[in-house]
Amino acid sequence: MSVVFTDETRERAREIIARYPADRSRSALLPLLHLVQAEEGYVSPAGVAFCAEVLGLNKAQVGAVATFYTMYKRKPTGDFLVSVCTNTMCNVLGGQEVYDTLAEHLGVGHDETTADGTITLEHAECLAACDYGPVMTVNYDFFDGVDASTAVGVVDELRAGGRPMPTRGARLCTLKEMAVQLAGFADERDGAVADGGPGEPTLRGLRLAQQHGVSVPGFDPNTPIRSKAEADKAAAEAKAKAEAAKPAPAEASAAPVKGGDGASAPTGVAEPAKPADATGSTAPDVKAPDDKSPQVRTAETRQPNADTAVPDAPGTKVPADATGTAPEADDARSAEAAGVAANVPAGDGKPAGDEAGAQERNLTEAKAETDADGAGPADANETGAQK
């Protein structure tokens, strides 16, 4: 705990905290942890204490966060962090060989630093440059398409005091200097932001389009933005037109069913928006038979939209009753009360039904609530019947 952070670091800490709303200073914790790494090269106990002090947290709270993230190092690091991607794509393209060679060449394993303190080696997960694979980074700037010998060349140059130029990105700085940028400060080195043009893979599709004169036709930057009222009107008109264009036999077969759609279509008058339309979804209400793979179905449940009925999800359609109208708020309340009554009560942390009389009491409460809300006698009877 002998480290006393410099005034510059303290001033920077104040700047970082000022970026976030006054009562939300904890948001500054991630950048502050980068900041203490900028001074010490890793997050030391003193660094944790510093963050805790400036944010009014305790050290356990800070430590819990610091140990969660890969980029916060827990022991001193070298000047250059060499990260070799060994995730699947880079791996099969030769990344594993690069990592193994470097580990042997440097005599260190994952998350270890060479004795001279220059290089910390790590194997990294996907670095988001798969089109350049296999890739490695030095202090997070990219060396693309490396093989074992070029990688060894890079680390040898670093150990000899050189600064090899990354394939993309800016010229190298030290890991501590990089941590200042990670804390949210500009790269002050003259011209560093301009370093590194796009590599060929990034531009391939674009070049192909340019060579062959392909562009997206019909782009007019002056296309007016319609007001919402206009858009609604246009949508209603389009709908009415679509309804009118329905083939007659479909109309006839649909006739026995008293649906709102069938009634309004012949007159061509757009009906008022139904609750379902309020979500803005143009998807049909009828879902296709569910032959989806489990992965697809689970993914849709995670991100419910108007097409996927998940309770409480925003935009989930309110289930319409037989007449096609949305249920009244009172109906929803009584339905909820009935639902409460139907559930087996789980009380006081004991297994359901453990406590004699608990179920009785809950049901009575539910009934009282239902009555107070002025729900119909049907609900009360239902509750009573379950007793």
């Binding site: 990219f142 599709g205 062959h212 930057p221 979500t279 449940t301």
Partner: protein, 438 residues
Amino acid sequence: MTTPRPETLAKLTPVLTKRWLSPDAWRIGTYEQLDGYAALRKALKAHPDDLIQLIKDSGLRGRGGAGFPTGLKWGFIPQGDGKPHYLVVNADEGEPGTCKDLPLMTHDPHALVEGVIIASYAIRAARAYIYIRGEAVHAARRLRNAVQEAYDKGYLGRNILRTGYDLELVVHSGAGAYICGEETALLDSLEGFRGQPRLRPPFPATHGLYASPTVVNNVGTIASVPPIVLGGADWWKSMGTEKSSGPMIYSLSGRVANPGQYECSMGVTLRELLELAGGMQPGHNLRFWTPGGSSTPLLAAEHLDVPLDFEGVAAAGSILGTTATQIFSDQDCPVYATYRWLEFYHHESCGKCTPCREGNYWMVRVYRRILAGQGTHEDLDTLLDTCDNILGRSFCGLGDGATSSVTSSLQYFKQDYLDYIEGRTAPKLSEKTLVGAH
């Protein structure tokens, strides 16, 4: 290299990528000469509700993997609720195979900044954050520079372009946690906690950052906003398919002749993408591929003609995801590939829920055993059973995603597993490889 046929070339739709060839497009002066900030001027003259409607009309769907309708998401933000609203851009690109957002932020950062301002104006946010992956230092360098330039020019800050609209934008670097790409984990991380997902509902639309209404959108989604504002919803819908409108950046990696970024009309097929990319590398034949990153079930050579839009890929039993097409050949082993992905999920599991934390831990070990030539037939059942207990039972999509490659590789390439188990394939893992791979 043979030239692609004209009808295939016509699938190219340079919209989001169009400025990347201009070496200085990251500077505000160059950006302004290339339609830059014209959309903002236009948007600030419109009513915010009209902008939300415009995005709804365009059919834009999230570019981060889930494909949620963007206009719908913006529309969920309650207006007049007296609470602060936030826009958070998810720039935590880390899904294995995905590499479309980093080049965008590096070579055209103002496109994202402009999109942020328009989107924030539409949802009435006075504060926006770009949560960028920590390791993406060069993109962050350019992005921070762009934000500063935008402040200096009056596009950000107080009274933007003298319209009375105020917006503060902060670029916030993460610290190396894949899970923070999950939107609620990202919000926890941005609030200064461990990045662990939250239970939903409530959804971020009502209880997001600092428990306030929040829109979380991917980089590609927000960068799509300025072109839609300029060209209009109908123009946007002239690209893509009926339910998956617009262009999409397809990231081809692996055993292709010319890997890279190909921005195409949604619904392009892998066959067409391969034609654009000059085909497979010599001596390689397509064996398996991911349509959208490692969390999407693998597809095989029989899926070359699946339209790569949200519906088409779902119908083929996979997920469009981030359109990161990682292409593997007959010289790559699907068992080993899956193993490496599982190592990743195991490492990145946040530990909050048991199915993901324990399931991935054990599956990695089962794979090591199989690849070391010590697997049993029972192991395959164990894998499927473990997947059953993770998929849909884990707290967030990370656990689900981990099972994708396992179940799909067992579906299409069970023989490869059996070959290891029954001794027809030489063990791929030795002790040496096992060391360090943790």
